[in-house]
Each structure stands twice: as structure tokens, then as C-alpha cells.
Symmetry: C2
Subunit: 192 residues, 2 copies
């Protein structure tokens, strides 16, 4: 069992509707020790790739992404969320992302200045559930002509469809914790 899995069992709270509350250490209050362990897990898995950029989406992906980028000595880029608009802006890559949790669709945007076909990009996020955010970021990376080096996730809800969608898209996915079930208020991890 890795450090993040231990912290989830100690400090995570399961809420109705398959919600795992980890805002005491991961996505509201953030424990830097958790970040350091998370970064080491990502380095173990992705460290030998030639990564030129780490990207994530605001807001809670920023902490693990910048700390990993600092270790890899490459820039970090975070996509911003905006209202969907029919007005296209020539200077940015855009992808529509639907959040099932919040019931809203946003545009995620990255300036064209900072991604191009010479880049090999690692996508980082705190959670993977239905995969919409990760697939939106992968779409942006591919629009730029850059390569998706992989997708690194802190906590995956493996009982939702994100894992399968990312695998079907042929992308290399590494999730530090894979949760099989949150039924009856209990966290069960996938077996290795």
C-alpha cells in the first residue's frame, strides 16, 4: 500500500453519491508531504520519458503539476476554464469539458504560444472519474501537434468510465491509487 492510499484510509471521508472527500490533504488544504510522495510515484513511472512540459487544469491539479515540473526541470502549463463560447479565439486551443459532478460544461483553454509539435507532454490531475478533464487536455495537446507522453492521476475512481476511455484512446495512464468501490462508506482499492 502506497503513502497516498494510507492517507486516504486515515483521512479520506466517503460521502453519499460515491464522493471521496480528501480536502484535508489533497484538494483544499494540501499537505506538501503528500505532494512529495505523489511526485515520487510519478517520477518512478514517467521519469525516463523525454517530457518537455507538464500540463494540468485549474485548480487542484496545479500543486502536484508544479512540484513535478520542478523535479523534471520543465515548464508547467495550466489550462483555464471559461464559459463555453461560440466565438472562437485564434490564439488558443480549446476543448469542451463536461463535469458530471458539477453538471456544467466548460471550455478549457491553453494559449497557442506555449505548446507545439516539438513538445512531449505529461498530463497531471488530482482525480480521474469520467475522464472528461484528462481527455479534454489530451485533445488540446493533440490539436497542437504535440505528443501525449502520458497521463498521471493521484486518485482514480476505477468504477467510473474514465480509465477505460483513456485506455481506449491509446494513452498511457498511471494512477497512484485505484479505487474499486466506495460502497457502504468504505474505500476499497483495486488489487495489484
Amino acid at each position: 500500500m502506497n503513502y497516498l492510499e494510507k492517507r486516504i484510509l486515515e483521512d479520506g471521508i466517503v460521502k453519499p453519491g460515491n464522493v471521496l472527500k480528501v480536502d484535508s490533504f489533497l484538494n483544499h488544504q494540501i499537505d506538501p508531504m503528500v505532494m512529495e510522495e505523489v511526485v515520487n510515484e510519478f517520477l518512478n513511472y514517467f521519469g525516463d520519458r523525454k517530457i518537455t512540459k507538464v500540463i494540468t487544469i485549474e485548480a487542484s491539479g496545479i500543486a502536484p503539476a508544479i512540484m513535478l515540473a520542478a523535479k523534471l526541470k520543465v515548464p508547467m502549463l495550466f489550462a483555464k476554464k471559461t464559459e463555453p463560447s461560440t466565438l472562437k479565439n485564434e490564439n488558443r486551443y480549446e476543448s469542451e469539458v463536461h463535469s458530471y459532478t458539477k453538471g456544467v460544461t466548460s471550455n478549457v483553454i491553453i494559449s497557442k504560444e506555449y505548446l507545439d509539435e516539438t513538445d512531449s507532454v505529461l498530463i497531471i490531475d488530482d482525480f480521474l472519474a469520467n475522464g472528461q478533464a484528462a481527455l479534454g487536455l489530451a485533445d488540446i495537446v493533440q490539436q497542437s501537434g504535440a505528443e501525449v507522453a502520458g497521463i498521471g492521476i493521484c486518485i482514480e475512481k476505477s468504477f467510473q468510465k474514465g480509465h477505460e476511455l483513456i485506455k481506449e484512446a491509446g494513452l498511457d495512464l498511471f494512477s497512484i491509487c485505484r479505487i474499486k468501490s466506495l460502497e457502504d462508506g468504505e474505500v476499497q482499492f483495486m488489487e495489484e
Copy 2:
């Protein structure tokens, strides 16, 4: 001249309306080397305080705040922005923050679980202009009974009123770069 000032002169772009675009290294694409220099400046100034928590506001304050928190070995907490609501939530501290840049008012919120009167809190943000975000965070810290140990800012637009408002509130403000003027497309720093 410090490292951040040099990068502003090299890579910052002055846009009409006193806008300084630094999204190639500070608030969209983030250069981890800039973050390391910024963290060192904050440590030089605030390093001897007894700080128990670093707080910021989503999204672009998160990168410097988590990297500083990692050095101080204390938790980082980021306030979330929500729509203003007349419905008060008992479980969180709230403060209204008006953005002059975006012309919108948001509620910034922090869960009551993570701040109390035993805390001494360092507030970090990337920009200081009219001071509304920093003062909103200070308001939240004070609601909790905690102490504001100080306010650390990467780039201050000293020709706007934030600096004065924070000083008037009796708070200890340290800005790594203080910009006197962006007139005629040229960045001028305050003299030491």
C-alpha cells in the same frame, strides 16, 4: 535587480490598460525556476516567523504557495471562488472579493475545518493591484481567530491602491517586485 524583475523585463509584455502579461512564466505557463527564486525571496523575508499555514486563492497563487509550504513544511490551503450567495454556509469562512480586472464579485471560501485561532498564516498571491483578493483572504484569516503573519506578493502594481490599503490595515506586506509604472509600454520599478 532580483531574478523576477529581470524576467519581467525580458519576457513580460505591457498591454493597453496597464496590463502586464507574464503568462509565459508566472500565471499560465509557469517556469519552476521562477518559482524557486520567488520562494527564496519569501523565505528571506518571512522565514523567521512562526508560520503554521500558507494560504492563497485559486488559481495562479497555488504554484508559489505550495512550493513555499513545502519548504516551510506546513500545509497550504487555497480559497475557492464561488458565486455570491445569500445562503450562508455554517461550515465555511466567506469573504466577498471584487475583481476590477474582470468586473465581477465572487465569494472566496475556506472550510472552517482548516483554520483556527492557533494558526499563524502567511498569505501568498501572484499579483497585487487593488488588494481585494489579499484583503479578502486576510478577512477570512481574522474571522477564524488566526493571526495574519504577513502577505507575500510576486508582482505589485504600486500605482494601484492595494499596497496602501494593506498597509492601512496594519498588515506586513512584502512584494518581490514593485512596479511604479507601465506607462508608454515600459516597465518601471520603484526605487529601493
